[in-house]
Every structure is written in structure tokens, then in C-alpha cells.
Symmetry: C2
Subunit: 336 residues, 2 copies
């Protein structure tokens, strides 16, 4: 097996603003693992506020010695080894995990969902994200998202209600709300959640800072709609520690170290009677296609990452009338 | 897909006594799922004290309509449907789970461990079980178990120390101890565990009745060796509820409803920093071979079920110098 990688910069269609920052591009690293002439593709995406960068990912990948494994089917051993190399670097680890799953599927000639025993007919609708912007711009973006049946709003700034009203001036579609830890006072947050629920919000992600577990648990207890962990639950150990504070969990490959641990998280969350969501960063269709296989198990999907960029370099999972459509090709299902 | 099944009676080499009962045979039901000429094999084993019987298993299997699924690769959907048919019937459900995994592996032409991303070189040694008996008989059985590197003792009766001393008169091999809920007083149990630890016991299974969670948690806190759940943790939901009371968990396919949920349990237990064990009932080499794939992930293995019977009808996973050896054949790896 041979690992190679190169940095790339994704250009965003719109300036992307969440409660903590704005940006126009996202750095990623593209990964390939080759074995006997077959290539598996993977990707690390590094939004700037999550602590990884092109430099940290490349430094991590430099350390990874996949040559010691002659057999790509030793997925558990290989990924345990990769995980043992550092504490963090979850996006870098995800890139290897994705490439390895793509490779294994291709070597067997079957799509990943078939290896995982999943049914492509269970694909959910994805939400489409509307970033924080002026009310006029939000209304405009909402119109552009006509094809998508569910909108995801980034809130947690001062003009939350204005933004929701701007969306509601255009459409009555159901909403997922992502506060990105932006709310600071629990009673005010609860009032906001009640209001959002009346406005058609189906759930709220990460209402307050992840460290404020007691306040989040209180919100979860009192909220009329599910409270879903994002920043608060990255990996399986977090899920098993903090599940009591949330109704659901947003699993993202770049947080979970990839498909393998993401799948373990979804199974554990289901057993804990939690709502499950598969999410993404700004990513190419490589990481999105990888995540789309896990969407066959989840209640919610937010897989619009590649739709928000202008220079995607892969094709794989697509969307039809807002619904996730897997390509059915071997591995994660890319065609280049 | 077509499901068929037939009852069978396993004859035991020795009268098998645990702390609650004795027996000379175990009823099982053999299951086959056929798809496009390929047959997957499964098995339900029903030790009499666990609540299932030939009658309940056949009644359950009668209800299962696999014909509605055209595609055996829809493993998650099929097994969710099967699980939804009743609250209990875990052995009957395991029989279908095993047959389906065998079928899927055969259809792809690869052993199950390869589909699961596991390394056959990680196979552990199995323990070999010595049932409760007279000291002379125990010494005799211990000699017969010469090939096996670890012995498992069924304790929890009045002459525990005599039995351990009978084993120690013959060998100094490490011991797993299974009390089968037999101890009733926690301080006496702890004293016994300390003594057993000095006698070379590496762990103790289910020291007290599973309902006595607080006493078991106290034992776990004070014990010098791991306390492993058997009766106390059957399925993933039990694991997530009761993990705090134990150091480890013995996953058995007949409890967990099969390979798929057993795998989820092992992953969750590892993430909870628990010790993991793969165990068995009295079974043919069919269910043992199925379980042996999961042994590639566990700390302990107790897969001697088929060694304790005189009329096994399959060949698959074997043992060499006490170590688990997977056949490498497609599916669960049987050859008939």
C-alpha cells in the first residue's frame, strides 16, 4: 500500500458566516491510498476554527507508515495504528479512513453500503445550509435553495429572529437550526428555541458552549424539539460520556476520524435512543460521498458541503429533489 | 431468499453442571437461508435455563418472512425486521443473523472477518471449560484439557475451593472463573475472589445475581481482578445501562441476537474501556465459527462449545495449541 496526498483550496460560493467567524475558502488535503493498481480516495477538510490546517494534516500524514501493512483489509488494525499516532488530528485520520474504505470496496467490487449491510433506498433528504448574512441576502439564498426540502440556518448572532423571518418571507420549509454554541443564557436560549419551534424548526444543534453541560442538559429537558450535539460530541468516547445532555448527535467524519468510528457512534447513539444526524464540513464530493453511506442509518442528514463550493473535483453522491442519491459504484462511489 | 430449519439435539461429552443445574444434552435448531443456490448456515442453541426451547425457536422462525427481502445484503433492514417481531427470542434471532452473515460472505467469496476489517492473526487462545464435578472428576477433566492454555471453571457451588485445589493438583494454568450468579454475600464473594486471584484466576464472571447491581459494582470496585458480566448484560442496551457495574462483558451470540449486535457491543465496550470476551453456549462448529470472527477483537475467548459435544455436524474454526484458527473459507468458514 502507498499513501500520497496534496493540499487543495476549496472556494466557497458565498462568504460563509457562522456565529464565530467568516470565510471565503476552506483548505483541504486530498489523499490517495494505492494497492495493486487500485486507488482509494480520501479527504481531510480543515475549517479554520477546528484546530487543523494543511500544515498539521501534512505533518500527520508524513508520520503514517501504511507500507507496514500488506493487506488493506486489515482495516481495524490499520486505523487503530493511525489513531494511536496522536491525540487529535481527526480530519487527517478521517482522510485515511475514507481512502481505505474506498479502496476495500473497490477491491471487492461493491459499494460501501453493501459491505455495511445498508439499504440505499433508505437515503434521507439533505438539508441545505443558509449562512449568517443580511436579511436580504438570506432571502436570496433561500430562493436559490429551491430544490432542497429542508433548510439549515446558522444562528447564534444578534439578529437571529430577523434571519428566520427573512427565510419565512420566502418559504415555509422545515428548518434545522445550528446555533454553533452561540447562545449564552439558558432561559433566553429556551425562549428562542420555543419561538424557533413555532417557526417550524425541527431541531437545534449545539445551542451553548459545549463545556456548559448542565445548562445544555437543562435545555434538552425543557426543549419542545431535539437538542443535537455538534461541537460537544466528536468521537465515540464523547458520545458515551455526554449523551445524557443531548437528544441527538451530529456525526461528522472530520470529527469522528472517519467512517469506521462514525458508524460505531451511530449504532451506539441509536441504542441510547438518541436522534442521529450525519453532517459535514465544506468538502468535495469525496468526503460527502463517504458520509452519504452512513446517511442510510440516520434521522437527519446535512450533506450540502460540496454544493457550497465552486471547484469540487469529484463526482459521486448527488441529490435529486433534495434526496441523497448514492452512485452505486464500488467503494464510496466516486467517478472522476 | 428462503429460510428453512430443523431441530437437533447435541449430546454432551460429560454431564454438564453449573451452579444452577445439570444436563447431558442441549437442544438446538439448525437454520439455512438460501439465495440463488447459495446457502448460509446458522444455529440457535437453547440451554434450558435461558428461556428458549425448540418450540419457541420454531414458533419464532415460523413468523419470519425473509421472502419479502430480495437482497440478502440488506442486513441491517432484515435484522431490524427480525428483531422487531418479538421482545425476546435472542437465540432464534441469532440463528438468522449467523445464516445471513454466512450467506453474504459466500456471495462475495470472502470470509466474514475480511468483511469486518479484522485480522485473523489476532486470534486469541480459547479457554476450556471444566464443569462442576467431584474433585477426582475435575482433576481428570483437567488432564484431558492438556491442549488448552487457559481453563474456565464453573464455580458458585459449596465446594468451590475443593474444585480449584483439584485443578491446581494437576496444573498451574491460568483460570477464568464463572460463578454463574452463584455467590450470595458480597464480602464472602470478595474474599473468594481474592483467594481465586492468588490461585491464578485472571477474571471472574457474574459473581452474583444480575439484579444485585450495587453489590456487583462494589465487588468490581474492590476486586483485584476484572469482574465480567454474563447474565447481567445480554444486549447493547444492557451494556449501555449497566456497564458501570462491571469491568468487562462476555458477549455471546445467543444473547446478543447474533454477530451484528455482538460487534456493536464489543465496539461500545472497548470505547467504555471495558474488557471484552466472546463466549458461547453448547453449540456446533456453526455458531462457534461465527463467534470466532469476533474473537479477533476481544481480550478473552471462551469458544469450547463444540469441543464439549460428541455429535457436531459442521467443521469450521478449529484450535491449534489452544489458539483459535479460522478456516479462511467464505462466510463464517464452514466446510461440511
Amino acid at each position: 500500500m502507498k499513501l500520497s496526498y496534496k493540499p487543495y483550496t476549496l472556494q466557497l460560493r458565498h462568504v460563509f458566516t457562522v456565529s464565530s467567524s467568516s470565510r471565503v475558502s476552506t483548505p483541504i488535503v486530498l489523499v490517495e491510498i494505492e494497492h495493486e493498481g487500485i486507488v482509494g480516495y480520501g479527504e481531510a477538510s480543515m475549517p479554520p476554527y477546528l484546530g487543523e490546517s494543511v500544515e498539521t494534516v501534512c505533518r500527520f500524514l508524513e508520520k503514517v507508515d501504511v507500507k507496514q501493512f500488506n493487506d488493506p483489509f486489515l482495516v481495524e488494525d490499520i486505523l487503530s495504528y493511525v489513531d494511536s499516532l496522536s491525540e487529535a488530528d481527526t480530519a487527517a485520520k478521517a482522510a485515511i479512513d475514507i481512502a481505505l474504505h474506498d479502496l476495500v470496496g473497490k477491491l471487492l467490487g461493491v459499494p460501501l453500503y453493501k459491505l455495511l449491510g445498508l439499504n440505499p433506498a433508505n437515503a434521507p433528504c439533505t438539508s441545505f445550509t443558509i449562512g449568517i448574512d443580511t436579511p436580504n441576502k438570506v432571502a436570496e439564498k433561500t430562493k436559490e435553495a429551491d430544490e432542497y426540502k429542508i433548510l439549515k440556518l446558522k444562528l447564534g448572532s444578534e439578529n437571529d429572529r430577523e434571519l428566520v423571518e427573512a427565510v419565512r418571507s420566502v418559504t415555509s420549509k422545515p428548518l434545522y437550526v445550528d446555533a454553533n454554541q452561540g447562545w449564552t443564557e439558558k432561559q433566553a436560549a429556551l425562549d428562542e428555541i420555543y419561538w424557533l419551534s413555532e417557526q417550524g424548526a425541527l431541531m437545534v444543534e449545539q445551542p451553548m458552549k459545549k463545556e456548559r453541560i448542565d445548562d445544555i442538559a437543562w435545555l434538552t429537558q425543557h426543549s419542545p424539539i431535539p437538542i443535537v450535539a455538534d461541537e460537544g460530541i466528536k468521537r465515540l468516547t464523547d458520545l458515551l460520556e455526554y449523551h445524557g445532555a443531548y437528544t441527538g448527535v451530529n456525526v461528522k467524519l472530520m470529527k469522528s476520524t472517519g467512517i469506521r468510528e462514525g458508524l460505531k457512534m451511530i449504532h451506539a447513539a441509536k441504542s441510547l435512543k438518541m436522534k442521529t444526524m450525519i453532517g459535514c464540513m465544506t468538502e468535495t464530493s469525496c468526503a460527502i460521498s463517504a458520509a452519504s453511506h452512513l446517511s442510510l442509518l440516520t434521522d437527519y442528514a446535512d450533506l450540502d458541503g460540496a454544493l457550497l463550493v465552486t471547484n469540487d473535483i469529484y463526482r459521486g453522491t448527488t441529490f435529486k429533489d433534495g434526496r441523497v442519491v448514492l452512485s452505486g459504484l464500488p467503494g464510496i462511489g466516486l467517478y472522476i
